[in-house]
Amino acid sequence: MYKLFVAFRYLTRNWLNLVGVAAVAIGVLVLVCVLSVMKGFDEEFRNRLRATLSDLIIEPYSEETFAGYEEMIAQIEALPHVVACAPRYDGLALIRVGKSRRYGEFQGVDLPREVKATDFGQYWRAWRGRAAREKLAEIARENGGDLAGVPRETLLDLLNRMRAEDFALLPKDLQARAARWAKENTVDLTAARRAAESAQPAWTPTDDPRFSPAFAGSELLVLGQSRDGKLVSLNIGDEVVVVSATDVFDGRVIRRCRIAGAYRSGLHDYDARTICLPLEDVQKFMGRPGHVTSLNVRLDSFANAPKVRALLMGILTSDELGRGIEMLRGIVGGADADLRRMETRLRELRAQEGNWWATGDFTVVVATAEIETALFRKIGAILRGEAGVKPSAADLEKMRAFQKAGMEREQGGIARKFRISTWEDKRRTFLRAVWIERRIMGFILFFVILIAGFLILSILHTTVLSKTKDIGILKSIGGSVGGIMSIFMLNGLLMSTVGAAIGAGIGLLIIKNINAIQDFLERLAGFSLFPKDVYYLDRLPVDKDPAMSILTICVISILVSLIASAYPAWKASRMDAVEALRYE
């Protein structure tokens, strides 16, 4: 008990100890805040990168397009874990917007299926909500902040387009005014928001057969900036021309479109370079009726992607391969050379599956096929009695069942001529860059904690020197070598624990209120600390569930401090009691 008592007293009665507490607190605080924002950015960026990619993307290996996709979709949608599947006809294009020409991509989509299989609908709602928000702010400005004189229909229409998050992004006073207006005019805001959340994009048919309706990326429509800083963009109903590069007809196809709406994924490149047209129109003007370039498959969870991919390709998953090898091991024994080779390859495959950024889908498929072939060859050899083992009747039965299941899988595969990638495969380079960046940042920030650790070391060392006499006294009243060591270790532990708790607490408060703090600082500084148009974000993103990372940071900082306190504590415990007590 005296150890804790003395250690605690040293913590509270020694200002240097409080400096140590502050050092750990600051270190933990910085780490919590920076890593939280980084992780927030990371998640945000991941979602952005994904844009309208679904969980799995099926494309032909060699051909540009393929037909018969309706049957494939029906088969794919019958697979487990598959939520929806949508066809696409993508192509490179020159897009003429106003007087400028942009290089980009057109996408022929089947809208009802597209919104089920990708986030297209969400991006359309995001654009719609944002546009409504800007319009409302403009109307309020024109009416001197008063909404009373605005026609009911206009306001109702705008409110019906704004989702809860759009509403929350309105300036505070405008929010209050809109709420008051809604109350006075008996408009149910919750219902309006629900309507905005569930609204679905639809083509607005053009009566002129020369035009196709089109949804454009929100940035594609921006023509420029007027002198007063306002963005000039195309509006609904304006004309856009898509020029496709193709080997059909003279090398190019021109299609005139009328804007039916827009979408905003938040990935600038995507929003500035893509335009969506009705799938049939694209098939028609590309001269490939009944053809598409890819299928987008949405799953119940991205974690099931390897499983569904294996089903689609008619190959076994790594888990199934593992079970097969396990079964053979029971029959021929673990020392078999073929089996050992298969196990090694399987281990490599599993590592590759875990490191999606390091290898592509193709590597995984080739490796799987290789192990599968070896496995079935081995089973065949045993069944024919060429392997020199005499399996029991039950084992024979098991092997035959496995063989049969493998054959069924192979025949059941529907997309063997296709490359099947996950969206992560497609965005590998970007994702990897983000991942590495965060690792490096975490590594650099770890040094902050390390500095706190060194500070604790020097503080404790100083404490030990100044407490020489105390150490002698404690020894004279029965303190052992271990006891003295514990006192100073505990002292370090208390410093770091209290510091980490304070740092984590303040850090948590900051990240919970980061946007309010940002607003406050911006008002104070008079300029934007976090320009929304640069980062293309409305709010500073933070880690939504920071408990785990905070815990990790705290544990690491406490461990580092504990290691740092070991040396001074050891030094203290070695002190000679008589020497320490000799002088006043």
Partner: protein, 231 residues
């Protein structure tokens, strides 16, 4: 052969270049239970070293410290620490109180040694009660929450004595307890120590220069040049 504390053929040398410097050269001494033993001798004669070795604060170069038939010098460091806490009490010339703790806490710390936090929670009240009563016996009931820096020399030494007594030690070692006090205060402390011996039959081993102490001791041992002088 004593059945209480005794030392046998005690030698203590300090390493110093080629030839070690001997401080104690073969001391044999029996402490009898309940006696007031005073050790006197000139400066550097080895009195304090003898006291430290007897109290297990220092280790002899050779020889043994015996308690009953147990050889204490061969015990583990941990075991020796435990005995320092339970068997012996120390009072030093320079008081040696913990400056960050109040008088009461200083007295209580030895009672906490070797006690886990849970056991301490149960025992705390009794221990605090005993500490308070010890402090009031030496007239410090009004000074419980003062820290050493706020106490006079005599008061500090009384706190130190209470601290030495909290675990009811079998032997109380005092190393020139009045050496750093003015004569009147020294006298008071002297009487306090005598009282402990007379009233409570507390075994006391004291190193001192003070003549009054020599007069009232039940036995006086003189040390000269690391050896006990025959009376």
């Amino acid at each position: 052969m004593s059945d209480f504390l005794s030392v046998r053929d005690l030698v203590r040398e300090y390493p110093q270049g080629e030839t070690p410097l001997p401080v104690l050269r073969g001391i044999n001494l029996d402490v009898r239970e309940g006696e007031f033993l005073v050790i006197v001798g000139s400066s550097g004669a080895g009195k304090s070293t003898l006291l430290h070795i007897m109290g297990l604060l220092d280790t002899p170069t050779s020889g043994a410290v015996l308690f009953g038939d147990r050889n204490l010098t061969t015990l583990s460091e941990r075991e020796q620490s435990r005995l320092r806490n339970t068997l012996f009490g120390f009072v030093f010339q320079f008081f040696h109180l913990l400056p960050d703790f109040t008088a009461l806490e200083n007295v209580l710390v030895p009672a906490m040694v070797g006690v886990g936090p849970l056991a301490w929670a149960r025992r705390r009240k009794d221990a605090a009660e005993r500490a308070r009563s010890l402090l009031s016996q030496v007239g410090l009931s009004a000074r419980l929450t003062h820290r050493p820096g706020q106490l006079s020399g005599g008061e500090r030494q009384r706190v130190a004595i209470c601290r030495a007594l909290i675990n009811t030690p079998r032997v109380l070692f005092l190393d020139e307890p009045t050496g750093n006090l003015d004569s009147r205060t020294g006298q008071e402390i002297q009487e306090l120590i005598e009282g402990l011996n007379r009233r409570d039959r507390q075994t006391i081993v004291m190193v001192t220069h003070s003549d009054t102490a020599v007069k009232r001791a039940s036995r006086v041992v003189r040390i000269h040049d690391g050896q006990i002088l025959k009376a």
